[in-house]
Every structure is written in C-alpha cells, then in structure tokens.
C-alpha cells in the first residue's frame, strides 16, 4: 500500500474520448499508456515517477478490464528484463524508474534488449532526477541511449506533448524494432496541466496468446554469431528506420521564422525555459511566437542530421541547449558540421554552464551572450530584464545568509529509524567512531545533523558490499547500514551473500520499516501488511539465515534504545566471525499514522477503551542543554524560550504533532540525560474499574498535594 490512496487519480484513468484530463504530468503519461494499448507495465518506484506505479497499483480493476498486467518489479533490472516479452511478440510494454540511478541497475538487461531488438513496442519511462529536488548523482540518461543505440525522447514539458510522446514512442519502437526511452524531468513529472483524453485501448495481441503460442528466434539471442549480426542490423537497418520514422512523423518541431541570422536548437524538455528567456528579452511571447528560429529536438537521440543541416544552413550561428555534462549532442553536431563542411558557428557549453540545472537566469544569461555576439540589434528596445541583483547585494539581504538555516529533508516525526541512530551515537561515545557504510533510503538522513553518521553511499542495497574491503584484522569493525528496500532490491545477494561467502567480519544493520518508505511507502517482500495482490510477510531474518548468516539478531521495537545500543555493542565486540547482522524492525511512522489514526478515531467513537500517548517536557525541569535534540532531531521536539528571567537558553518543548513514539523518553533514559520528559497516557472511554482506580488515586494524591501546598510559603504566581 502506498503512502496515500490514489483512488481519485484512478478515476482520471477512466476518462474517455474528448474528456479533459486535469492533473500531474506523470499521471498523464500513465493515462497515455492505457490509451496506447499497452499490454504490461512494470517498474521500480522512486521520485519523480513513483505516482505512475502508485496509481496503477490502485487501479487493479481498470487493469483487469483492459487485460493489462501490472507488476511492481523487484528492481529496475527486473523491470527492464520484463520488456523481453516484446522481443518476440507484438505486445506493447512499458517500464519506469528513477534515472540515472535506476538505468544503471537496469543496463544489463537494456543492453541485451536493444542488441536483439523488439517486435512489440518497448517503452522505458525515465524520471530524470536532475537539478533542484533531485536526490541522486547528477548524470545524463543520454549516455545509455548512445551506448546501446536505444532511442531517447525528450518531449516538451506540457501534457499534450508528453502524452503524444508515449504514443509516438511505441510506434517508433515498433517501426525500428528498438526499445525507446522517454525522459521526463522532475518538474515535468509534477507539472499540473490538461489534455484531451482518448478512450483506453485493449491490447490487440494479448500476453495469454503469446504464452500459449510460443515463438523463438535464435537470432534475437545475444550469443555469437547472432550478436555480430545484431550489431550490423542496429546500424544498417534499425537506425535508418528510426530516422525515417522521426522525419516523416515530424517528431521534432520548428518554431519561429523560417529565416534568421541566428538559431536556437533545444531539447524538448528545456523548451519552456528557453521561451521564457526569449520572452524576457522581448524576442518571443507567452503564446509561443518567436522572432528567433527554434529547432526543438523532441527526440534527443538519434540526431536527425538532415533536419539539423537544413536548420543551420544560411545562419551565422546556432546555439545548442542541452542540460548536464557532457555535451553529447553538441559534440555530435560539431562532427556533423565538420563532415559536411558547414560554416555556421555552433555554440553551446562554451557559453552556457557545463553542468547544473539550466534555470531561468542561466538560460537568460546564456542566450543574451549568444545574441549579443551575432545579432545585437535584435536586443534593441528590449523590456527591462528581471534582475534581483540590487536586492541580493543589499547588506540587509546579505545578512540573511547567516540567519536562514539550512533545512534539508530529515526523519519524520516519530520515525523508528531515529532511535537506531541515537543508539549508534551512544555506542560511538563508548567505543569510538567507526567506519560506517551507508546505503540508499530514508536512513541516509543519518548523515545529516544531528546524527552525522555514515561515510559513503555506493548504491541501493550496496551498503554492506561497500564495506567489504575492510575485512581485515583491526581493533574496530565496519558498520554497514541498509534499508529493507535496498535489502530486497539488491542487498540480499550482493551485500549479505557476499559478506557471508567472504566471511566479512563487519556489522550489517538492516533497517526494516515495513515499506519501501523513502519512495512513498510501497509494499515490499517483508512488509507486514496483508496485500491481496502480493505475497508479503517474508522475513528478512529467515532470508539472511537461509543464505548462510549465523550471527543474526532481530530487534522488534527499534525504540528500545538501550537494547539497540547493547546489541550493536555486542555485534562490534563478539568473537564470532562472519557478518554480524542486526535486523531492526519498526513500522514507518508516516505510514503507521495514516493506517492507525482512522482506526483509533473509530474505536474511540465506538466507545472502546483506547489509550492515546504523547510526550511532553516539564519546562521547569529542563535546563536547555538540548542534548536530547542532538540524539533525536524529531520535528515535534523543538525548543522555546520561557518567560523565566533566570533562564537564558530556550528549553525543549514538544508540540501537538507528537505521535508518542517514545524515542525522547528512551533516549533520555539510555543516555542518562535528564528527567524532563514525561509520557502522558490519556485513557479514552475508561472502564468502571479505570474510573474507580483513578478516583481512589486522585483522592489520596490530591490530599497529599494539597497538604504540601498548604505548608509551602511562596509568592503568589
């Protein structure tokens, strides 16, 4: 079950011919898949394409109606391999993941797929996780297209164009027997817009037909001598077929006047930014009219040489706008111009920055420089360009830099991973710092304050594998952290299997929060929920024991900081050889609250006896050292100034968002901090016995309190 319900979005998938779809880009793409007669969809969740997976997971009914098979793949490699259904059979398949991280994982299957080629349309939807909002290394998916000679679409970031690209992508794939990648950037995935829907289409040829009538062709298998023939086929037949299709179907677009001294070549995905910059320079308007010729490459790879040549001829200079390093397209255009001996000057990353996101100011600056070089007159009579620099250079604004705090993402309120890292901090205090290999997932927030734990991150499920070199005699052991998501994605074999086989002497900490939490709380193999469509409740402990691990400890409540600390200490000091594996399990609080809150409210309404817990701080007792915060960082545990003139520093304070996870109390107890924390248990719908007991206690306690208060000579408050 994903973090939230997508029931409303599922309704959007049912829209028919002529109806208006209003919503997010990635959901428009999802709808486009169904309109294109797709037979099967797979993928691995991750920002920015998670919603494609989430909404299809909730759309079982529609998928069954249409005869579409949907699968939550174990990894991007599994998803890519799934596309092999389209190798021999005329079925359309689509898979999706976060790129380039996911494309790296998938590339083994992708290479084989593109070498042998496909019969049915094979579409790979890449959420290009680049620029602001990204959480991964800044690379370009373009490289994968080039090395495997798969085609790469990069449509203009509006819903009609993205929807059209899905249909075009399938057809291009079928016309050239080659898998096609469709790249959408973060903002395009999350852009809200509208398009006119079409009816969903049932696949003409079904997977069932394929399964019951198997076909094989040894020439499609990547083994000599077929692999050499495939290489030839790619270059001599499939490539020209793709070029012809792209040209004939006019997948790339031309805007602005036919003639001009200068021209702009841009990738489709960057078109809106280019247009806004031109608008600010007075060279275009908001409705797409431009006074500069623009060639929009909605197909980023392959380049259509004839179109480029036609565009460049007669112009003094053109500029190629592509984001990220290196400038693959610009380089290929230089080759093209040199070969054809075209004298048009070509610019790109000599003017624009070599890396980073092409934000509005970056494009504005680059285009201004370019136009000033060749056609300064164009810029005459331009409106004033937006310029915040006078504001930014004012000392009042500069002073902000020291005051506005960094606010990176962090563990949520009540997160069960927090106590794990609090325990690691406590162990650190006793046994010193250790080398910690981190992984991918929410637990990676441990590298930030207040925990500052974790040295490297090498990839999903690779935490323990990335500590494998440290399997040497030493007075300290390495600690590797891996989430349950990473564990099932890759970690079981690549990290745990590797550690068992090589008798790796380090500690492996598997953070099990019952979901693939960082990507939106999707179910995975070890999820504790009963999912009617999936087999869940498969134990991580059984899995690691099954693979040969012997020192395995399960902690069922990560909030038990003392137990967590002691288990870690044992793992770091035991004489036993081989990996020491600790599986620390507690449910992701974000998902738990979504699940439990309505249940709790209903139970209270039904008159059941329920106990609501939350934490508080006695501010008179708190001295404002904030040691508790340095072992927590919980959003609900904050600070506040008191009105006590004798107190200088703000005291700890817990706000109403507290979910009563218990971390504060457990930490202050385990770390011997202070007795300020209390847990307040409020009994809703108390029983008669509860009431009797409470009354009895209150009468004795109240009498004692009154007695002492009466004897106290103090100033009135």
């Amino acid at each position: 079950m994903a973090e939230r319900s997508f029931a409303r979005e599922v309704e959007d998938l049912k829209l028919g011919e002529g109806e208006i779809f209003r919503g997010e880009g990635i959901l428009a793409i999802t709808k486009a898949l169904l309109q294109s007669g797709v037979s099967y969809v797979g993928g691995y969740q991750g920002s920015p394409i998670s919603h494609l997976m989430d909404v299809l997971a909730d759309a079982k009914e529609i998928m069954e109606d249409l005869g579409v098979h949907f699968e939550t793949s174990a990894s991007e490699a599994a998803a890519a391999a799934m596309l092999s259904a389209s190798v021999m059979y005329p079925v359309r398949g689509a898979v999706t993941w976060k790129s380039t991280a996911g494309t790296n994982v998938a590339s083994d299957a992708l290479s084989n797929l593109s070498s042998g080629g496909v019969n049915g349309g094979a579409l790979i939807i890449l959420g290009e996780d680049f620029g602001e909002g990204s959480s991964i290394m800044q690379e370009r998916s373009h490289a994968f297209a080039m090395k495997s000679q798969m085609w790469l679409l990069d449509p203009r970031p509006n819903l009609p164009s993205m929807v059209q690209a899905v249909e075009d992508g399938f057809q291009l794939s079928e016309a050239s027997n080659t898998p096609v990648m469709l790249q959408v950037r973060i903002r395009a995935c999350h852009v809200h817009g509208q398009f006119v829907a079409k009816d969903n289409k049932r696949p003409e040829f079904t997977l069932r037909q394929a399964l019951e009538n198997p076909v094989r062709d040894v020439n499609r298998i990547v083994l000599p001598p077929a692999n050499f023939a495939q290489d030839k086929d790619k270059l001599e037949r499939r490539w020209p077929a793709a070029i012809n299709f792209i040209k004939e179907r006019k997948l790339n677009e031309f805007f602005g006047p036919d003639e001009g001294e200068i021209g702009i070549i841009t990738l489709g995905g960057l078109y809106n930014g280019v247009m806004r910059s031109l608008q600010q320079l007075g060279l275009a308007d908001v409705y797409g009219n431009s006074s500069v010729p623009i060639y929009v490459m909605n197909v980023a790879y392959p380049t259509i040489d004839e179109e480029v040549v036609d565009f460049c001829l007669g112009k003094k200079a053109v500029i190629m706008i592509e984001e990220g390093a290196p400038e693959y397209i610009e380089q290929s255009l230089h080759t093209l111009m040199r070969r054809r001996d075209i004298q048009t000057r070509l610019h790109g990353k000599d003017i624009l920055p070599r890396g980073g996101e092409y934000t509005a100011p970056v494009m504005l600056k680059g285009l201004t420089t370019f136009i000033e070089m060749y056609n300064r007159l164009l810029l005459g009579n331009q409106p004033p360009v937006p310029d915040p620099t006078p504001v930014l250079n004012d000392p009042k604004v500069k002073a902000l830099a020291d005051v506005v705090p960094a606010r990176p993402a962090g563990f949520c309120t009540g997160c069960p991973e927090r106590p794990i890292f609090a325990a690691m901090k406590l162990v650190e205090k006793e046994l010193g710092e250790h080398h910690v290999s981190a992984d991918i997932g929410c637990h990676l927030f441990s590298i930030l304050p207040p925990f500052n734990i974790g040295g490297t991150t090498m990839g999903y499920g690779l935490g323990p594998a990335s500590a494998s070199a440290f399997n040497v005699d030493a007075d300290k052991r390495s600690i590797a952290v891996m989430g349950d998501g990473g564990f099932w994605h890759n970690g079981l074999a690549t990290s745990v299997g590797n550690a068992v086989f090589n008798k790796q002497n380090g500690v492996i900490l598997v953070v099990d929060n019952y979901y693939s939490a960082a990507t939106g709380g999707q179910d995975i193999l070890s999820s504790r929920a009963i999912n009617p469509n999936r087999k869940t409740n498969n134990s991580i402990v059984d899995a690691v024991k099954g693979i040969g691990a012997t020192w395995v400890r399960q902690i069922d409540r990560t909030y038990d900081v003392a137990k967590m600390r002691d288990t870690l200490k044992e793992a770091l000091t035991t004489d036993e050889t081989g990996p020491k594996i600790i599986v620390a399990s507690s449910e992701c609080m974000l998902n738990k609250q979504r699940r439990v809150r309505p249940q709790f409210a209903k139970a209270v309404k039904d008159g059941k006896r329920m106990i609501k817990e939350r934490f508080g701080v006695d501010e008179d007792v708190c001295t404002g050292d904030h040691a508790c915060i340095r072992l927590s960082g919980c959003p609900s545990l904050s600070v506040k100034h008191t009105d006590d003139p004798l107190k200088d520093d703000p005291v700890a304070a817990i706000d109403n968002s507290c979910v009563g996870c218990g971390n504060c109390g457990e930490v202050s107890e385990a770390a011997v901090l202070c007795p300020s924390f209390y847990r307040a248990d409020v009994i809703h719908n108390p029983t008669g016995w509860d009431k009797f007991l409470a009354k009895l206690r209150a009468s004795v306690i109240g009498w004692l309190q009154a007695r002492r208060a009466a004897g106290r000579i103090v100033f009135a408050d």
């Binding site: 275009a284 604004v397 520093d649 011997v672």
Partner: protein, 515 residues
C-alpha cells in the same frame, strides 16, 4: 533591421501572473498549490503549477511554483516550470525563515512582489541542537523582507489555523484572498475550498479568519529578544516572612537589581523556603557591598545585577529532590492535563523517564555518609550497579507518587546533604574568582559571574557543563590584565555554547593563548 520583416512586432505582451510557495515538507504546500490552480481554472484562466518535492517531502524546505493567464481563444500559453528571480508577483512563505529563503533566492523584489508570510517559527535542526541559544534572529529576516518586498502581509498563520481547527494551507489561502492580489472574488476562493470536499468547515473558518486578519492587521511585530516576565514587587505577599524579604530587597539594594532579585527570591522560596531566600539576599548583599566599593555605581551595578541572577540560579541547583518536588505538584498535574488536552471523562496518567545514578543518590545523603561512600570506589560501584538503570515512574499511581513525594519531602534536610555542600563549594569558588577580579577588571568580574550560565543539566550533561565552565575559567589568568579581557571572556562563553564537545571552545582558547 528591415522593418517589414521584423517579427517582433507580431509579439503579444501578455505576461502571466506568477506565484511561488515556499514550504516545508508535510505542511500542505501541495494542497495550497492545487487550490490556487483550481481557483484560476474555475475562473476561466489557464494555470500551471510545478513542484520539486523529492525527498524534501520529509520535512525539508521545498518550493511550488504557479503561473496563470486568462484563457485566450484556444491558444495554450507556454508557462515556465520554474520562477525567474525578480519576476514573481506573489510569494507565499509558510514559515518565517522560509520567507527569508525566498528573499535570498531573489524571488522577492520591490518592484512587484507581494510577500505573504507566516511569522511562526519551526526551528531547523541546526538551531535546535546548539547547547545554548541557536535560534536565528527573526528581525534580520523582517529587515530583509521589508526592504525586498513591495508589500508584506505577515502574521502567525499557523496559530490562526490551529485555533480554527485547520491547517496552515487554509489560513495562507485566506491571506492570499485578503491581500487582493488575485483578480478573483472572495466567494470564488471559498468555492474552491468547498470543492475540495475534505475538512471544509474548519478550512473555511481558518480561511475567513485569515482573510479578515490580512485586511485589518496585516503585520505582526517580531522581536529578537525573548519576552521575560518581571513581576512588580508586591505591597504585601500574604506572609510576614515573604513581606520581610520584599522589604529587605527594597531597603538594601539598588532599584536596578530589584527585578532579578525578586525573581531570585521567588525561585528560592519555591526551591527551599523563605530562610533560604534570605540567605540569598545576604550573599548578594555582600557582593553588592563590594560592588559599591569598586565603582559599581558608574557601571549601573552590573556586577550586582548579574549576581542577583546567577547566584539565584546557582542556589536553585537541579537535584533529585527538586525534580521529585516539581513532578508531584498538583499544579503540574493540572498543567499537563491542559497541555495534552484531557477532556471530561478521560483519565490521564504520566510516566516519567528517570535514570538515577549512584552519584545522585549519594548527593541526597547526609554530607558525611555521602562522602564516606564516595571515598570507597568498590562499594560505590557495587551500589551503582543496583541503582543505575532506567526507571519508568508512573507518577499517577500510589506507589510511585509516594516514592517521589517522600523524596521531595527530603527538602527539609537538603541543607545537610552532600550535594548541597558540593554546590556551596563550587559557588563560593566561582564567586571568589569573580570578586578577585572586581578591583582589577570590573567588566571581567561581571563576565565571570555570567559564566555560571554554562553549568546546567543533570548527570553527564551537568558534568560536561562543569568541565566547560572550568575550561572557560582557565583563561582567567590570561585575561585579567587585558582591557578587552571581558570581551574575550564573553566570546569564550559563547563558543562553549556552540557545540556539545567544545570544539569551538578549544579553538577560542587557543586564540586566547596567543594573545
């Protein structure tokens, strides 16, 4: 250029209205963004929103961006997917520092930007984790936003939303409507909220309250210094012992020291009794006498004033008796019930998380016995193994209440305990170090008094505080003959409050050593 082919003349000058929302993950920035887009579309405009949520969904700072234009004959406008600095009409910031961040990003400019910001604070980890006061100065933000924005609407939209049973997205939507920056009627805003279907009534209440507020009182004052409560001296305090204290305070001390002295006697009568508060006045009185003879009057008796504060703090030390006392009071039971919102028919129980060590137990013992045990390490360790563990104390049950109540009752013998003796020892050493500076370097003497701020907390925290105090004080011989000694001492203390392990302090001490 040849005018006949100039295509620029064909361009339309329409510009979209642009809005940026600066939010933190989990605050409902997406809801607000959807409302604005829905509103515009319902009014026949074309609108586009984008966001970069990513992992920022998990409490991090993030931005939503919206552009809109009236629909124009079937042509779709080309909207930008990101804001251009200097080209934003409305910035909505859901927290004070996020308003500051929007200015730093260049999104707020005086020629066009209306800034709508909530002035509440949600402190970042970097602010909270400091051992001292790491809270960013809000007046710097206000100074910058006032300079950068064309117009500012800034008040606590979080509290206003909570008061109306809703969340901040509703009150921000109300402030946006109240600001009148979008050409849509208030009813259209309300219809958008109704169309959402969830929590409509509370949302509308918060929306309306915020709409009114944005028009009637669009600005909240923010202050850099926390508001402290200084009570007026009472004419009569309903008990002769207390009246005597107040009388002494008036008779024996300069007026400038009264507020803190009164806070001190209030704290110490509460901590122990009126006699103890009397001792406090005696102790500060002696310091005041010295202050006078060392030219304190010219310094507004800063030495006396600061002594009034920190001697009270030192005398009201945090011991087990104090904690037990505070935890068992009736007023505390009532306060907790109010804080967690216990309603009629519900029952409240508190569980305290305590972890006493042998040190604390020894501290509660009579001085002689305590020292006797402390001087026998193996006995101490043996006892510690039995004492030193976490205990969940259920204060609302009879057994635990009586336990804490009895411990609180040890107040009567507190003056004879080991801890009390230790506290006096530390206090007197500190005060004599300060007094020793009075003749030589008045300002430095005041700073030595202020150093007491470093000693706080319990257990390890207390030990760490003491060690920082000692390290800061170790610079005294180097500073006592310097005219800028006081400034350096203050710097050392500030450094000590920057991080837990004292890295900044070590650096500052090294600098002092090279002076």
């Amino acid at each position: 250029m040849n005018e006949t082919v100039n295509p620029k003349t064909l361009l339309v000058s329409d510009k979209p209205l642009t809005l940026a929302i600066m939010a933190m993950g989990g605050q409902g920035g997406g809801v607000l963004s959807d409302w604005i887009v829905g509103l515009a579309e319902a009014q026949g405009w074309m609108a586009q929103s984008t966001s970069v949520p990513g992992v920022a969904q998990r409490t991090g700072a993030t931005i939503y961006y919206i552009e809109m234009l009236p629909a124009r004959g079937g042509v779709s406008p080309i909207f930008s997917l990101m804001p251009t600095p200097g080209d934003v009409d409305v910035v909505l910031a859901s927290e004070l520092m996020e308003a500051g961040r929007s200015v730093l990003r260049g999104l707020v400019t005086p020629d066009r930007t209306t800034l709508i910001a909530s002035t509440h604070r949600s402190f970042a980890v970097g602010e909270k984790e400091k051992p001292g006061d790491g809270i960013g100065d809000p007046t710097v933000v206000v100074g910058a936003t006032d300079f950068a924005a064309k117009r500012t609407i800034a008040f606590d939209m979080e509290t206003l939303a909570t008061k109306n049973g809703s969340v901040i997205s509703a009150s921000m939507f109300g402030a946006l409507a109240g600001a009148g920056v979008l050409p849509f009627a208030k009813e259209a805003f309300e219809a958008t909220i109704r169309g959402g279907g969830k929590g409509v009534e509370p949302s509308l209440r918060a929306f309306n309250a915020s709409f009114e507020r944005a028009q009637s009182k669009p600005r909240d004052e923010v202050s850099a210094t926390p508001v402290k409560r200084y009570d007026a001296l009472p004419e009569s305090a309903a008990h002769p012992d207390l009246d005597r204290l107040v009388h002494r305070l008036r008779a024996e001390f300069p007026e400038v020291a009264w507020p803190l002295l009164f806070a001190g006697i209030k704290k110490l009568t509460d901590f122990q009794d009126a006699a103890y508060a009397g001792e406090y006045l005696d102790r500060v009185g002696k310091l005041y006498a010295l202050d006078r003879t060392h030219g304190g009057e010219a310094k507004d008796f800063a030495f006396t004033v600061q002594s009034a504060k920190y001697v009270a703090v030192a005398m009201a030390y945090d011991d087990v008796i104090r904690v037990a006392d505070l935890k068992t009071r009736g007023s505390r039971f009532n306060r907790v019930a109010k804080e967690v919102g216990v309603k009629d028919g519900q029952i409240l129980y508190m569980t305290e998380y305590m972890h006493p060590r042998m040190e604390e137990i020894c501290g509660m013992m009579p001085n002689g016995l305590g020292r006797w045990i402390e001087s026998r390490p193996s006995l101490f360790a043996w006892l510690d193994r039995r004492i030193n563990k976490g205990r969940r104390v259920q204060t609302g049950t009879l057994f635990w209440f009586l336990t804490l109540y009895s411990i609180a009752g040890l107040r009567r013998i507190r003056r004879g305990t080991l801890r009390h003796a230790q506290e006096i020892e530390h206090r007197e050493a500190w005060l004599s170090a300060a007094v020793a500076q009075l003749a030589r370097n008045y300002d430095l003497a005041v700073e030595v008094i202020n150093n007491r701020r470093l000693v706080k907390g319990y257990s390890d925290t207390h030990a760490r505080g003491l060690s920082k105090f000692d390290r800061v004080m170790s610079a005294l011989p180097l500073l006592q003959d310097r005219a800028d000694g006081a400034a350096w001492m203050k710097r050392l203390r500030q450094a000590a409050l920057l991080d837990e392990s004292g890295i900044a302090l070590d650096g500052a001490l090294k600098t002092v050593a090279t002076l």
